[in-house]
Point group: C2
Chain length 176, copies 2
Amino acid sequence: MPDRHTLEETERAMKDHVGDLPLDFAAANALSNLFRAANAVRTELTNRVLRQHDMTWTGFVVLWVVWIWDGMETRHVAESADISKATLTGVVKTLEGRGLIVREGDERDRRLVRLRLTDEGTALMEQIYPEFNAVESEIVSQLSERKVSTFTRTLRDVVKAVELQTDARDEARDEA
Amino acid sequence: MPDRHTLEETERAMKDHVGDLPLDFAAANALSNLFRAANAVRTELTNRVLRQHDMTWTGFVVLWVVWIWDGMETRHVAESADISKATLTGVVKTLEGRGLIVREGDERDRRLVRLRLTDEGTALMEQIYPEFNAVESEIVSQLSERKVSTFTRTLRDVVKAVELQTDARDEARDEA
DNA sequence: AGCAGATCGTTCGGTAACAAACATTTTCCC
DNA sequence: GGGAAAATGTTTGTTACCGAACGATCTGCT
């Protein structure tokens, strides 16, 4: 077992293990690269930008969402940040402890909690986000403009493809 | 602040917050879709395949790597699974507790720890992986074959773009 | 031979992540 | 108007996740 493995070696090794079953290597390869790319970008942005401000990835994303949409309700923030509401509760607690965000009850519907940035939180985002976007830009600049738009469109197609499956499953469940 | 926001609304809201600074919206949009897609796929595979076997995403990935490359050293497993070695230690502990994997010292170099699947672990992978790959295949099948290969190539380009930055940074550090 | 430096996996401390169960509040429907 | 059902955010319990510091081991150099 060598240190690094080529795609071909991996495919052969896989075939040895699954036997005769037909596998979709192209799909496996595409999605494994999807995760690899997402991880690489996330790590790079964390190390290069967020770390200096002692900020985690999720903390930053939540802060960003609330920065853009001031006073947003928590369930929408969770959805926008692509995390569960349970996770959001914890993250907000951390950010609140650092004086970057505040929770605010809604008068009309007392189940709701709205989030706002403090002045400190706003100042932080005004400083961090341009840095963050500059690194995003640097990374993407390695691709041609044309490739970027195709890439973005395909990524959206992937999200849609998953939603299609999820919806079909939900409907099937509702039958029962 | 409406419930859902179009891309245009978000861009306008961002401009209101960053003022005159020039932002790279295309880059921000591409990368935000990258994370969205990765999350969606990961959640779908977890819910549809792994959950039934009481298996976490990372646990599965580690198991998969060790299944394919039997006896691999932990640092290489961590690298292949795209997690830190500290995380791997914890995950292996969990998998070991469930009797799916074993740790094995290396005779020659006693710092090393090699990982192997138990019979139970192997049996589990032989069952899960085909299911896993079938769902991967379903998701990707929404895209044309041509799109998939372009997509895969671009994802690799993104990984390379990040590595380029990382390497440049490392070299700059070595100067000092 | 012997010791400075590198390498390897683990531990530690702190944060993130989610499902499920929960209390509170609102809505729906008769 | 009143009770069932739905919606909202929090708590609980478990696992994942990483950087930094650590002890053990190996390598290279002289």
